[in-house]
């Protein structure tokens, strides 16, 4: 017996890019959305697990709306999501968002400090706003 309980949820897919601090930012911002801003409305999709073929990650991304969060304009998360499950509802590019809003890119990809909180908050709020837009429209 299979019962599917449709919860209104949005999948957040960060790129986790290791080479740029914007990649580190995607992790912190996404976790903020998942843990604090929209904990009951969002689910994280682990991109490496998604790519490796995990059924849970892939099925969720096929069934529910997603937001990809890329560090840079290579848009690895967006391109991969489109290839493996379908077009995300929104595609955030952190480097472009920071530039648009005049926020400095954090200096270190290894650690983000209190000083970088403005950047984390900006990205997290942007994602949260998009989650709300998805859930309002249905």
């Amino acid at each position: 017996m299979l019962q599917e309980l449709k919860q209104e949820k949005v999948g957040i897919i960060p790129c986790n890019g290791e080479e740029l601090c914007e990649g580190t930012l995607t992790r912190f911002a996404c976790r903020k959305v998942l843990d604090t801003l929209r904990p009951h409305e969002t689910v994280t999709i682990c991109l490496p697990l998604f790519i490796a073929g995990d059924a849970g990650e892939r099925n969720f991304a096929k069934t529910f709306p997603t937001i990809t969060v890329d560090g840079c304009s290579k848009r690895c998360s967006q391109v991969t999501t489109e290839k493996l499950s379908g077009k995300p509802r929104y595609a955030v590019v952190v480097s472009e968002l920071l530039k648009e809003r005049g926020i400095e890119v954090p200096p270190s990809k290894r650690t983000l400090t209190e000083k970088d909180q403005a950047a984390i908050d900006l990205v997290a709020e942007d994602i949260a706003g998009k989650v709300d837009a998805i859930l309002r429209k249905g």
């Binding site: 790129c15 986790n16 890019g17 290791e18 080479e19 976790r31 991109l47 490796a52 290579k74 690895c76």
Partner: protein, 134 residues
């Protein structure tokens, strides 16, 4: 181009192991083996980024996976490249049972100790690989 050792963490975002692996790689790149160890974004391999593919094809590769799902190793091997070493953070935790990470991204004191232990272990693997390389 000078040979590098490419160390790629899974950077899994669901568990502390992903962040521990990622931080250990940064410790190698910035503190223990600057100029010798490098990394690349795992996802760049999936979008067929030519520079990322050339980097792993031309150099030895070590993957650092958080857990037994082995995402980094699998993702690299999907490109046709066989990794030279594959480590799992969970195995390091088994040897250091008392060091429990505090959170998924904010690891806390014990989580950071695990990072240092893992970085040193990776450093030994790199030493082994460098002895073999011409």
């Amino acid at each position: 181009m000078e040979k590098k050792i490419v160390v790629i963490p899974c950077s899994g975002i669901g568990k502390a192991y992903g962040e521990i692996g990622r931080q250990a790689v940064y410790e190698l790149i910035e503190d223990l083996r600057p100029g010798i160890v490098t990394t690349t974004c795992l996802a760049r391999l999936m979008i067929d980024d030519p520079d990322a593919k050339a980097l792993i094809n031309d150099n030895p590769v070590i993957t650092v996976d958080g857990c037994a799902k082995d995402c980094a190793r699998k993702n690299v091997e999907f490109t046709g490249k066989k990794v030279d070493r594959a480590l799992r953070v969970i195995e390091v935790f088994k040897e250091n049972r008392d060091l429990k990470a505090q959170g998924i991204l904010k690891l806390g004191e014990d989580g950071l100790k695990l990072v240092h232990i893992l970085a040193r272990k990776l450093n030994e693997e790199i030493a082994g690989l460098m002895r073999k390389e011409p």
